[in-house]
Symmetry: C2
Subunit: 312 residues, 2 copies
């Protein structure tokens, strides 16, 4: 956290490694290219629209001074979270942390970032990418929704339950309706990316059955969402979803890396320890009414749809 030495001899090759990683992962993968374009369309103003690895033309311009400026600004005691997960004694960890990190002088306040806020979305956006490397067409819709940090009490938990009900496994509404009953999709899913500082993403996605167009599949997703909004959900479905979500979270903690990441990402996005500890209780408190209210966020005008297609 102090005294980093960076020379041009180290920085220039590392920058090239990042550029190469980007070329390998994104620039040669139509699916990743589409994901980037979808995120950029969803967050046209807020920085979440910029890929974490960065745009190539901007990575190319970065050098030693940029790396050191970033390091100097963000690698400070006030901005650091130490997470230790494993077979340790808490007191011993605290003692050791105080000894190792306590010696580093405080700087004052944690660095503040100014993040542009996304204006209220009003128009649906469809991003289409066709490429000869695509073998299987794919559909995604991403909705701008509140995160655990920006949501009203209970709202983020309801979105979490909603994602599981719509797209979690083979008992989900999407799977039963689109894969089993109507056979218009070979796979479906939904995901709530609740861990974010600002408003975030709710994903609905799937792959069409052979001969089914992405536009048809898109209409089918919309139909299921409208049905849930209109008819509501049963207490039985709700109870099953909650049990599964809480159980998954508890099982996931068997993996110490996952456990550490959960605390780390929660604290780093502005939540507290209590938010992590009482998460199961908050999920248990979600009602059928909360879920129906949460589905109002899945308004087409708040969304970007991505179509991945083989080249014509």
């Amino acid at each position: 956290m102090t005294g980093l030495v960076l020379t041009d001899e180290v920085v220039a090759p590392e920058r090239d490694v990042v550029l190469e990683e980007r070329r390998m992962r994104t620039d040669s993968d139509p699916s990743d290219q589409l994901n980037e374009a979808v995120q950029a369309a969803l967050f046209s103003h807020h920085p979440y629209g910029t890929p974490i690895i960065g745009w190539s033309h901007e990575i190319e311009s970065l050098g030693r001074a940029d790396a050191l400026a970033y390091y100097g600004r963000f690698y400070t005691p006030e901005n650091a979270i130490l997470v230790v997960a494993g077979d340790v004694e808490p007191d011993a960890v605290v003692d050791l942390a105080a000894k190792v990190y306590g010696a580093i002088p405080a700087r004052g306040e944690a660095p503040q970032r100014f993040r542009r806020r996304e204006p209220e979305p009003r128009a649906h956006r469809l991003v289409t990418l066709a490429d000869e490397k695509v073998e299987q067409p794919a559909h995604q819709s991403v909705y701008l929704v509140p995160s655990y940090r920006t949501a009203k009490p209970g709202e983020a938990e309801a979105l979490e339950v909603l994602a599981h009900l719509l797209g979690g496994g083979q008992t989900s509404f999407f799977f039963k309706s689109l894969v089993v009953d109507r056979r218009v999709a070979v796979s479906t899913g939904a995901h709530y990316a609740g861990t974010a500082v600002d408003d975030t993403r709710f994903y609905v996605y799937g792959m069409p059955a052979p001969g089914v167009s992405l536009a048809t599949l898109d209409g089918e997703f919309e139909r299921v969402i409208a049905e849930v909004a209109e008819k509501g959900i049963s207490e039985e479905d709700l109870a099953r979803a909650k049990t599964r979500l809480v159980a998954d979270a508890i099982y996931a903690q068997d993996n110490q890396a996952t456990l550490g990441r959960w605390y780390g990402s929660s604290l780093a996005t502005g939540l507290g320890l209590a938010d992590v500890l009482n998460w199961p209780a908050r999920i248990e408190a979600v009602t059928t009414d909360d879920v129906v209210k949460a589905i109002r966020w899945l308004d087409k005008r708040r969304s970007v749809t991505g179509f991945l297609l083989p080249a014509a």
Copy 2:
């Protein structure tokens, strides 16, 4: 340019005037809402995606200190262009300008702005806005193309000629094919917004004939563009377009405000006086080959299409 006095009593009501202007013009007009969403999708990274008036939630946060900071940074002698058009004697204007503005002390260098560059577009984007206030459906496609400042020599002039050939008046390719021959549109147009510091916009737009879908009209625009790219253009069409463009520019100078704006906007976007003075000669130099090369910029992957629809 010096000594501006701003008090909260002046700034707060003016900010409300701007907010009200935005509410009247944009927030209550579906067509303007769509335009904003289209621009935001085209420029997901570059600041041209932000409307000039600003987003409401950001205007609301602005106060006296912001206005003064902007004034202090940008209202400087190094950043000012004085344009005088009319029945004046050049020497007298220069003397007067030296007397009035020459007294203001220089600050050093003109203020620099860091502008994020847009990454290469790869995926077509369709923005759809349906609203009950819409009476006539409308179509637009906006392509990311070089500006007079960023283009290679001759390229911007070729885009200017291309816009006229495609969409300028009743002899244009779009009008003849879509309005007269096929009757799929009631109006068509094209426009090259060449005056910009960074890469800019080429517009293709129209309104469908009754009963014709926007998707059909979109396909018709694409067909005409593909035909021009494949078959090229005749020397006769080219000559007519050039004559008309140059004549329009000369007639426009009869209006002194237009004349002043042409010089002002050219100088403010990084061009020089020579660029304005020899513009007619550069337009005259455009060849049929240049136009066919320029049409390659109208690649669907570089574009955002906007559909304005009545609410279903």
